[in-house]
């Protein structure tokens, strides 16, 4: 099992992690909350993501080869590491379950209405569990090519849909005050920007090099991600205007509007492929890191693969049981609880550990 990454591979994986699934899922709810100011929310949260990269990269540099659980244990003691690690793991399980549920919801609502959610969820988790067994060094190679195809299709979609753009839809920008923009910032500070803390579990796999530019490359990946999200959000706004926020899977809906001569039409299948592939890659990264987290909580080496299956099974059943309290409850979990959970499980712990490391540095 090859388990090392080059800085370039780490940056590609970071871009995939940030962009996968969010590029299709973010525009509609973001526009619903922030209206025409969605782009302002995106830029502001992108800056928050850049700031959050500082503690992640600094800690990885200071404790080479150590994951978040390991350096927390060293800095704050084992009980604190276990406490923070369990909360950290809980959020990763919800991320994996939520991402795969999203694939299932998309497939059921858009393509295969007679098939039960659970079938998509079980097959997706089977594929994910088998993928992460081969090791991060191998699957990141495959993911790079898949993500390239996703981005080509999305740019192609935006270019073709530009024929339907109505530039008047961009105005007015802040007609309801600043609260809608803050709501958008709250929503995307959890998904995808708060989630970048997960890379504190992946950076130890990056091979140390004499001129280490991993941080800069990751910052570039984050800026590219923000630019991509801006592109699709503006394309959705320009195509649908005031009703853009009601269009779920907005890039899929944008693709449906394309009709240029008789050659370029019905290209939404490409967006369907993009959503499924991008979500699959992101879910694989999340299940991989949750497995590493579990291994380190138990004091096992990260090469141990014995717990992948039961963890994937638990995520699959949690994902299947998402719908038992109804769709409104799930929407509240995604838009209301998820950002707060991310803050408590990811953002506050990494900032806390970073400050403790700074204090320790001053003392020594």
């Amino acid at each position: 099992m090859r388990s090392t990454l080059t800085p370039n591979q780490a940056a590609v994986l970071f871009f995939i992690f940030l962009t996968g699934s969010s590029i299709i899922n973010i525009p509609a709810p973001l526009i619903l909350f922030s209206h025409n100011g969605a782009w302002i929310s995106l830029i502001a949260t992108g800056m928050f993501g850049l700031l959050l990269l500082i503690p992640i990269v600094s800690l990885a540099r200071r404790y080479p080869g150590m994951t978040f659980i390991q350096y927390t244990s060293k800095l704050m003691g084992k009980p604190a590491a276990i406490f923070l690690g369990v909360i950290f793991l809980s959020y990763q399980i919800q991320m994996a379950a939520g991402i795969v549920m999203d694939i299932a919801m998309f497939l059921k609502s858009s393509m295969m209405r007679s098939t039960d959610y659970s079938i998509f969820i079980i097959f997706s988790f089977l594929a994910i569990a088998i993928t992460i067994r081969v090791g991060v060094g191998k699957f990141v190679g495959m993911f790079g090519l898949l993500m390239l195809s996703v981005m080509v299709f999305i740019v192609f979609n935006v270019l073709l849909s530009s024929a339907n753009f109505n530039w008047h839809f961009l105005l007015p920008v802040v007609d309801d005050g600043v609260k809608p923009i803050l709501h958008g910032i709250y929503f995307i500070s959890g998904f995808p920007y708060g989630e970048i803390v997960l890379f504190s579990m992946i950076l130890p796999f990056v091979k140390p090099q004499s001129s280490d530019r991993t941080g800069r490359k990751m910052a570039l990946a984050l800026l590219l991600n923000t630019a991509s999200l801006l592109m699709v959000t503006l394309a959705t706004l320009l195509t649908f205007g005031p009703i853009a926020g009601e269009r779920k899977y907005s890039m899929f809906e944008v693709a449906r509007t394309i009709e240029i001569t008789e050659i370029f039409q019905r290209i939404e299948a490409l967006m369907g492929y993009s959503l499924i592939v991008a979500s699959f890659m992101k879910a694989s990264i999340v299940l991989f890191t949750s497995h590493i987290t579990l291994n380190h909580l138990l004091g096992l080496p990260h090469e141990n693969r014995q717990l992948i299956f039961p963890l994937a099974l638990l995520c699959a059943i949690i994902s299947i049981s998402v719908g038992i309290r109804g769709e409104a409850n799930w929407n509240f979990i995604v838009s209301g609880i998820n950002p707060l959970w991310g803050l408590a499980a990811f953002v506050i712990p990494i900032v806390l550990v970073y400050f403790v490391s700074l204090l320790r540095k001053k003392k020594t």
Partner: protein, 80 residues
Amino acid sequence: MMYFLLGIASVAFLAHDWFIENLRGALNRVKIAYSILLLLSAYHLLIFKNWLRSFSFYDTASLIFGPAAKAIIAYLNPKG
């Protein structure tokens, strides 16, 4: 169909982990963690089937974060 797929996948992976990944020779804490994860899966399946009325994973999260999340969303809503 769902239970058939879950059953087949569970048996296949358990056999693979037991014989190929050498789960039978693993440390006790690995076996305990493996069992806990399987038990948690069974617990959620019982809740899903409505055979057990208890807190699921997301119900627990809603209990912890729900009130604060509702307050934040109410504050951020320009219409109150």
